[in-house]
């Protein structure tokens, strides 16, 4: 069993900078492809969707998803960051597919790679800072550097910097843990039972825990952003 990340190829820019084509890269391409395919279908079909006609089938499903998300987002965030709703929707969908794609044999979930989860957490971190500085710059910066007193500023800064680390490791650890457990089970289970035994674990680790972790990551990110923008 090998939990390292396979490198399929590389693109060397300089002697020190080399972009690798890994399991994660392929998985990300698959996830991107799926999502772009879905988005294209929606885009093409939506040209014929009439808002005055009762929605059915695929249109109904998409409307339920977007409407449900909007309600969820509005109930959990401040109105001042309503414009970020599509961003967090994309994050949730991307993470859901990424976490669950491990159910497909041979495909490694992109989120089982810290190289994927950390950039996502870093984006959330920058979004938190952006929201805080944009919507209430004085209060936000004062909260970091002067509260409760200025001597706590280093602790506050460390607390802010810890957020992306914490977010990324939580998601990475959970997904990698599930993947490792399943790999171990595949390794030790007799061949004949490999078709049956992992099924409940796949359902739990890939589907349930995957969905849960995607929601946790998104929920924490949007809560931090909302708090930063409007305490």
């Amino acid at each position: 069993m090998d939990f390292n990340i396979n490198v399929f190829g590389s693109f060397r820019v300089t002697d020190t900078i080399e972009f690798l084509i890994t399991d994660t890269t392929i998985s990300i391409w698959i996830v991107m492809g799926l999502l772009l395919f879905l988005a294209l279908i929606v885009r093409i079909k939506s040209r014929n969707w009439d808002p005055m006609v009762k929605p059915t089938g695929f249109q109904n499903v998409m409307e339920i998803c977007i409407d449900g998300w909007e309600k969820f987002y509005k109930s959990n965030t401040s109105d001042v960051v309503a414009y970020l709703s599509p961003w967090f929707f994309s994050l949730l969908v991307f993470l859901l597919i990424s976490n669950m794609i491990g159910i497909v044999p041979g495909v490694r979930p992109p989120t089982a790679d810290w190289g994927m989860t950390f950039p996502l957490a870093l984006l959330s971190f920058f979004l938190i800072q952006f929201a805080g500085v944009r919507h209430r710059p004085k209060a936000y910066l004062k909260g970091i550097f002067l509260e409760p007193v200025f001597v706590f500023a280093p602790l506050n800064v460390i607390g802010e910097l810890a957020r992306p680390i914490s977010l990324s490791f939580r998601l990475f650890g959970n997904i990698l843990g599930g993947m490792i457990l399943l790999s171990l089970l595949y390794g030790i289970a007799p061949f004949i039972t490999r078709l049956v035994l992992p099924v409940p674990l796949h359902i739990y680790f890939d589907l349930a825990a995957g969905a849960l972790q995607a929601v946790i990551f998104t929920m924490l990110s949007l809560t931090f952003v909302s708090i930063a923008a409007d305490s």
């Binding site: 020190t16 900078i17 988005a39 885009r43 190289g115």
Partner: protein, 198 residues
Amino acid sequence: MVQLNPQFLFFLSAEGDVVYRYRPLLDMDLPMFVNMIPPLLSFILTAAFLTWLLYKPVKKILQARADRVEGDINDAALSKASAAELKAMYEQKVREIETERAEILDEARKAASERRAKMLDEAKAEAQDVKERAARDVANELEQIKGTVHQAIVDISTDMAAKLISASVDAKAHEKLFDEAMAELEATTAIYTEAVTA
């Protein structure tokens, strides 16, 4: 320069040997952070396309429907307000009509009452006239009858005197004549009384 891994295609070392390459799970060095750039851009690209191609079109439809529903609700509220205003106006009209009707009825009742009183007065006056006329007629009739009776008494007295003179008058005959005269007088009086009563 692009290189490929021999596990799947081939990957050559600097010396030309076939090598396998793995990336460690958690390496916090420059190559690791450099290799975070493609996933980062991939996600940003995916989010942009999802927003543009999926989220906004569906949101636009939802918004159009919400606007339509809101418009319908506003229209319904306006129609309701208009209907309420119309209802109030008609109710006011009905109240005015009711008041007018009551006034007309009162006036009619008053006029009828006045007319009734007038008719009653007229009837009473007419009845009084009739009564007075009848009384006058009765008095005239009485006078006439009195005259007639007087004449009859005169005639009877004349007859009695004639008979008294012409016949041999004895006490018995005298009594008989007197009785006959009295009977005629009574009969005349009875006629007179009957006429007066009628």
